[in-house]
Amino acid sequence: MIAYIIRRLLATIPVMLLVAVIVFLLVHLAPGDPASVIAGDNATSDQIAAIRATLGLDRPLWEQFAIWIWRVLQGDLGQSLFWNRGVAELILQRAEPTVSLAITTLIFAVSIAIGLGVLAAWKAGSGIDRSVMGLAVAGFSVPVFVVGYLLVYLFAIELRWLPVQGYRPIAQGFWPWLERLILPSVALGLAYLALIARITRTTMLEILSEDYIRTAQAKGVATRPMLFRHALKNAAVPIVTVVGIGVALLISGVVITETVFNIPGIGRLVVDAITRRDYPIIQGVMLVFSAIYVLVNLAVDLSYTLFDPRVRY
């Protein structure tokens, strides 16, 4: 197992290098110039050129890439072009809101989705099944920002139950932290919930038609243990796989959700950086997100051993 983990971790190095090259090229080849943004609207061409030289943006692209990748290999993600602060420092500063949002969204989506998926499979063909699947289709189809605005209008402006926007660190109290995460988590989690509910239902339908389930029923095993102990555990591998794949969905959703709900997380950091072409931040965040995605998939692969004793690494 340890050898497998080491092999997988080593395999991430070429992946991360490839990501680094692609991100760097995409960012630098896209139109836009941070020096022009920094200089402002009244600046002349000479002033912009001077700022570009100060930032090192007048150097050949390969040279800029070499400098950046050399620093990255030393663990330095570089400096923001605008704030003269380290990219790693800025990412760390923004990590708590994003991690909080991801955790609450995961808890919301996974806990509800698995229950709904199991229920839909157990009541296959019934009104409950159709309702759950209808909800799943809606959850998957409606964009995050539409759900977000509707939730804000209803629960924050009309009912005034929850705040419109913002984030409070958990150190300032559990409820102030949680109340600002409820609406974003629901908005972000609906698509995720839909995805997991559908895969849970499909996998459970397959499992529930297996002979051993029929045998368990014939032996008089109660419904709940039969569903959750016998069937769900055997359906877990594809569900956990989808949960892992869904992290990509979560990452892209975080970017929009943090903007709609004004959460000062990593998603907002990268959106702002893209708007003003703060290259080191864009590159740094993309690398971090890629690393997270690779590690989550590794964790998913490793988790298979928990659900299926036949899986060995």
Binding site: D33, A39, N42, T44, L159, R160, Q165, V260, D272
Partner: protein, 534 residues
Amino acid sequence: MRTTRRSVLGAGVAGTAILAAPAVWPARAQPSAKGTVRAVMHGDVPTFDPIWTTANMAAYHGNMVYDTLFGIDDQVRPQPQMVGRHGLSDDQLTFTMELRDGLKWSDGTDVTARDCVASLRRWAARDGAGQHMMERVADISARDARTIVIKLKEPYGLITDAMAKTSTPICFMMREKEAMTDPMQKIETIVGSGPFLFNERETRPGSQYVYDRNPNYRPRSEPPSWIAGGKVVHVERVIFQNMPDVQTAIAALQAGEVDYVEQPPIDTVPALEADPDIALQDRNPLGNVGWIRLNFLHPPFNNVKARQAVLWAVDQEAHLKATFVDRRFYQPCGSFLTCGTPYESDANTEWFKRGPDRAKARQLLQESGYKGEPVTLLQATNILYMTNAAQILAQELRAIGMNIQMVPMDWSGVVQRRAVKAPPDQGGWNIFITSADGLSSSNPIWAAAHAATGERGWFGWPSDELHERLRDEWVKAPDLETRQKVTHRLQENAWNFVPHVYYGQWRTPVAHRKNVTGWINSPGVVPFWNVKKA
């Protein structure tokens, strides 16, 4: 599915719970803390050095923590701010300023004339008006700890105007230590002598910027007027909250989570007007002016007839109505320098009074020798008024026979491409849309885009010797009346050679909670002194 008594009862209980929930979970009110004003400005602070950049948000930051030697008042007149006694020598070649009592930096040290000399030099290196002034300055020096002396090569009527203006970069005073920094490098340390102190510990770049009342600031005794007069701070803290989504900002304002939204979209105005807790206020009396920049370096706009064709084709009313909807918020304006200022003029504005006239525009275009070559129009798609203006302009110019090719991109892409002097088919451009604040547009020196110095000038690179002579004459004019006469001639010439075209002037109201009062109007920046929160 069977309907049973149990399922009906269950549904009833669930329905009752949902309906009763508002009573069980009472509505929350979330006013931001008393003494703290939370403001959503139009953008993010891109850097903390307001001299290094002309970005407005950097000036907003500077306006909180730094002070100026002079400040402009609501009559567009420069008034002393950090300065006490001041005056020009009889030969008009020596301008002397004495700092007023009690000026201190936030680190507790005294503000000295040496600090101000270094600040003036650094600002002048980056600012168009400052550069214009420095060409006529022989020396700036500190006579003693509190006296600054500017020696001129020739009489120059805009010294105090330049130091007082609110168009960026504003002439903020910094400690000598920071002001000695290369003007092309950013300063790292924020030590000001303004009415607020920058709270770096609680600031989160990109998210929130925190400013605390400066207890050691000594305001002037005069009443506040634009950025002149007494800067008396009544609140303990001001927080600029960066909210890229303006709909969220509006919702936060309605819910009382923020106190001020600088640029609510015009389509939200009816809803905001209907809200009993929110007031709308026109805080920028001169508003903004929409500019259509034409590239003088390449056909067709290297020909004056083609530029005149655009002048006659543009319907300002159509442009303004598309974005600003309500006549309360916009006005077509034919004046070369901003309408509503002492320099508003109707000289040579037949194109405005009679226009738009497509037949005439088409005729002028034909006379220019235009043969249907593609005309590249840069469209900033992420800024509503710019993207609308580009769409309408494209239609107007197609209607007179121009082969418009729109190039959509975000604003960052536009600011990069507009600097390219190559022909449009090699990465250059023919037209882009922008805007400038009404105050800087009202002064032929302050707005870099008013220069017609060819390739040394601003994007579009217009060139006209007479225009430059008249700008120089405007500066030397000894009084307002003379300057107005020069303005008249400047405008007559401008609308002949057409350095650019305007698509109108607008003012967007700000929205604030009604319990926050005392807002001071000002173009260019947003003063937070005099503001009170009940």
